[in-house]
Symmetry: C2
Subunit: 274 residues, 2 copies
């Protein structure tokens, strides 16, 4: 156990606790991005479930009732917004990667205008990126704070003019997701989405699509797929909490169109109250 002897932030002595936060040092935390409508957290139960699963996997002891009460407090104050909920392991008690177990989780909540984030284009262009995702089943699916791969991918996306989103493969060449969204592809009338056992984030809107597709009797294949599926699919849509279900118009320069039944599914999900 060892408190620091001294702390400087931008050259100035700092007595605050936050410079020790393990999320700052190691990305040791989890987050949720939640759409708020009329003061209500959309798909709250799905966000709760994913955060709980993330806490279980990282060994974070969290008072979930308290976290979601704080979240609702901000949603009541900013009734239409995009909420970012960040739960960190808290300030380091000892130096080094190992948590001591005595850390106190820190909850940071940020309310952003619903319009924040990349602007939604009328024509959605998507490019396949060179940037890849490392594979680690222990971290796959959960929304943890190790996101440099996404940061590098968004930097690469700048070289693709007018592209709204980029698709990423894992290190072994499997299509996984967009940089900030999950992806569904249509081929020969079959809807499919990548398995996220290796890496990627199991998006709340992805779960909603899978649920609604099952309810509508539309089979969805969740499976490993090679990256070159992007050259063979006829239609695609992206999902995340902010954009909902967003059909792709152009993928790597190729025009795509969803079949009528997939359009109906997308419409069904978009119309949900959540």
């Amino acid at each position: 156990m060892s408190a620091p002897l001294g702390v400087l932030v931008d050259g100035q002595p700092c007595a605050a606790d936050w410079p020790l936060d393990r999320a700052l040092h190691y990305g040791d935390g989890l987050f949720e991005t939640i759409a708020v409508r009329q003061g209500r957290l959309r798909f709250e139960s799905l966000h709760r479930a994913r955060l709980a699963e993330g806490c279980r996997r990282l060994g974070l002891q969290v008072d979930h009732g308290d976290v979601w009460q704080q979240t609702q407090t901000l949603a009541t104050r900013h009734t239409t917004c995009t909420l970012k909920l960040l739960v960190t392991r808290g300030s380091a008690v000892a130096r080094g990667y190992a948590p001591s177990g005595a850390e106190r989780t820190r909850v940071v909540l940020l309310a952003y205008p619903s319009s924040s984030g990349p602007e939604l284009p009328s024509r959605v262009r998507v490019a396949t990126l060179e940037a890849t995702l490392g594979e680690n089943p222990a971290l796959a699916g959960i929304k943890h704070c190790n996101r440099l791969e996404q940061v590098l991918a968004r930097l690469e996306l700048r070289s693709h003019e007018h592209a709204f989103e980029g698709l990423m493969a894992s290190s072994s060449g499997h299509l996984i997701s967009g940089t900030m969204s999950n992806v569904f592809l249509e081929q020969d009338g079959v809807l499919m989405t990548p398995s996220l056992e290796r890496c990627g984030i199991a998006g709340v809107m992805r779960a909603v699509v899978l649920r609604e597709a099952a309810a509508a009797g539309t089979p969805v294949q969740v499976k490993d797929m090679p990256l070159d599926i992007v050259r063979r699919c006829s239609g695609a849509f992206l999902t995340n909490a902010r954009i909902g279900v967003l059909p792709v118009h152009v993928l790597d320069g190729r025009e795509l169109a969803l079949s009528a039944s997939m359009q109906a599914l997308a419409g069904r999900v978009s119309a949900l109250d959540g």
Copy 2:
């Protein structure tokens, strides 16, 4: 561009800037752990070079002269310590993974007692872990702040009683490093250390060992090696800035011993002024 409408930290409104730091949200930053002796930064030029390489790869604009001046200031104040230097991309200007380019990097410096961190045992036991490292050449080698894999590995290490360090393989089964150290192995009189092209951190002390070995005419093979090399090697040592060169006595329950020439190399490195 969008400032948050509201911010809560642990339920309380917060007007400070730090809750927006991109290292907190994405691990979007770099660090160095530096041994300070008599007010001097050990192997400063090597730390400078690695930080500069990390900044280049992540696209961080940093005034390096200023960063190292701040670092020296703290080293002058705490003349024997372990310094942690953290350089983050700074507070988010816009929501989302993409940096706007207008962020201002933040420099956090923490001085810890030299004795902080896991206690050095007289008999060094090392265990091979189940926890793996994702492979991403874009992030390999640099000391960035996405370290959840190391955090999970240290948690796993608790189940190995008396183990000081754990060895990790990459997702494709290649031996990479310890959780907080680099590793050198001896087999049939040949010294070797894993290639870090896929993942892992190119440690400063690892670089020193490679340099000194070359100067001493001791060949070191830097190469891909399967994890089961740990069952065949006759000797091993760990390296990092704090522990220096640390011979391994027991690896997965098997006794190891370095040859006389490797002991001489370890001694030569340990004796360096740095």
